[in-house]
């Protein structure tokens, strides 16, 4: 993977290659496509919508980048999101029953969310490292568990945040700061932090090491288990942040909330150029990946010309092509070997 980059560097003698700009190329291509399909695509309204939407998956995907870079995988994020939002709502509603609505209640909910996220992440990490069970199985298990728990809490129905609290909480999703919606701001902050942590801290570097060769890392005095567990906790935190901005949007949670988000998140990560087998990760690539995915959905809404039944086809084709675009560099370099 990364070898490609540096080999090319040597070849072209410059620090830029398809692999690095790839995601952007794909993004631009989609952008052009969008404009061609429908002028309205360019309207500030629409662009803001795209950005705001991508923030859910985006934030979760930032967390997933850590997990995957360290050679793990987390299938539970979608149900985790559902579970956390469910609990948030229940807690806030119970509080609302006792005290008068207000910022305090929301803060309580936010706090609960963060605690739950951390805990859920820790469980995944602990079972994987100490339990020595494949991450895939562990998170497949917790995936089912969290989802059924929210179904249970919601008694098969939908949990809705009570009106009063809702009105206090709503702005967190719908308001903006200097024209930038809050969710986008949060996404931005999370991405930047994620970038710094992954690329500028010991923890981040150890994620790379573990993902690329666990034994080498262990022999080099890296606390493999601790670092891996931490990646799942980071993932959990990201999920809780995502839910914190998700809840005020729809103000409810049900068994359906966040279905398949895990797939979208992982897709965003891989589209962004992170290697599924671990050892190489790129936060900003992930960000672009999330944008690409959201944009595809949006573009499908730009036109009525193709049957809705074929959405999946278009989506699939675009994803594959988008990734193909940015992997172009591979062609040459693979040959050399």
């Amino acid at each position: 993977m990364s070898s490609v980059t540096s080999q090319l560097d040597q070849k072209l003698g410059l620090k830029l290659d398809l692999k690095t700009v790839g995601p952007f190329l794909a993004l631009i291509a989609l952008f052009v496509l969008g404009i061609l399909v429908n002028q309205a695509f360019l309207s500030t309204g629409n662009l803001t919508n795209i950005l705001t939407r991508s923030s859910f998956i985006g934030i979760i995907a930032v967390g997933a980048t850590f997990v995957i870079t360290a050679g793990g995988i987390d299938l539970s994020v979608g149900s985790m999101a559902a579970f956390i939002s469910g609990c948030m709502i229940v807690i806030m509603n119970t509080l609302a029953a006792t005290m008068e609505p207000g910022i305090m209640i929301v803060l309580a909910g936010v706090l609960a969310s963060i605690i739950l996220g951390t805990a859920a992440g820790f469980v995944n990490g602990f079972l994987t490292t100490k339990g020595k069970i494949e991450a895939f199985i562990v998170t497949l298990g917790t995936m089912g568990i969290y989802r059924s728990l929210v179904t249970y809490v919601a008694d098969g129905g939908t949990l809705s945040l009570n009106r009063a609290t809702r009105d206090v909480y709503r702005p967190v999703y719908y308001d903006d700061f200097l024209g930038i919606p809050f969710p986008v701001l949060v996404f931005l902050v999370v991405a930047v932090l994620g970038y710094i942590i992954l690329n500028r801290t010991v923890f981040g570097r150890h994620c790379f090491a573990i993902g690329s060769n666990e034994n080498v890392a262990r022999y080099s005095a890296v606390h493999v288990d601790r670092v891996k567990t931490l990646t799942y906790i980071v993932q959990g935190l990201c999920v809780s942040i995502a839910t914190i901005i998700y809840v005020p949007r729809l103000g409810s949670a049900s068994a359906q909330t966040g279905t398949l988000w895990e797939l979208e998140a992982i897709a965003a990560v891989i589209i962004g150029g992170t290697v599924l087998k671990g050892g190489y990760g790129r936060i900003w690539g992930t960000v672009v990946g999330a944008l690409i995915l959201t944009m595809i959905g949006n573009i499908l809404n730009l036109t009525d010309s193709i049957s809705n039944y074929l959405n999946g086809t278009v989506q699939g084709v675009i994803i594959v092509v988008a990734v193909f675009l940015q992997r172009g560099s591979w062609r040459l370099s693979k040959k050399k070997k």
Partner: protein, 292 residues
Amino acid sequence: DKFKIGVSIPTATHGWTGGVNFHAKETKARLEKVYPDLEIILVTAADPTAQANDLEDLVSIHAIDALVILPTDGGPLTDPIRRVKESGALVTVVDRALTDNTIHDVYVAGNNPELGAVSAKYIKKALGGKGNIVILRGLPIVIDEERFDAFMDGIKDTDIKVLDHKHANWNRDDGFTVMQDFLARFPKIDAVWAQDDDIALGVIEAVKQAGREDELFIVGGAGMKDIIKRVMDGDRLTPVDVLYPPSMISTAMEVTALKAVTGAPIKGEYIVGSPLITKENAKDYYFPNSPF
């Protein structure tokens, strides 16, 4: 310029929503032919989040003048729909109620509790008030909850015993497996409430496999053509069906379109009933060329 109606419905993930999609497309074509200066944009979403996205796009991109929506889930979509309303569009809600019933201009309501009640009423009568039944439920969401509660309410203080109820997710395969296990578990079952015709089809196969056709009968729901055909043919395994017409989307679209062209101020609620389909009236509900 043209009057734009946005139609937002759930993706065709199972029989009934498939029917909704079919009728929506068909009505779109028909209405656009009848009213030349009418444009209908049809979007489908798999879950509340996606549907909320669609609503945003319908407003920001297509600047719709009216919205016809069959919410994937009433609760979460209340707010997004309110925003569409605030954008000045006329709102027609179909089937599933919002948590705030001041938003819609028109509400074409399916009646989930009634479906449960009607089914209960029939089974109670057919069993003479006593017997063992099993229930196959849909997905664990509000609709299923409403139908189930109404049904249980309908059979309470009778000697009808619900041996067990499990979720079959409005899915034929799950209907098949769940019923297989019920049959393995319970030596004597007098009736099955499958609640949905997709599930019912799975159940029928399971029962046939076990060779217990003569022991019990099955009540489905929604009015899928295959089942209605069986009712029409007097199949004793499926003596009746309970209608829950996916065509309600057409009704909603027509009403809204009418408003669009006439400008007539229509407000109000249209309750789509859930009548019992029997051998006698079956032919009125049989549309062989519908995919549902």
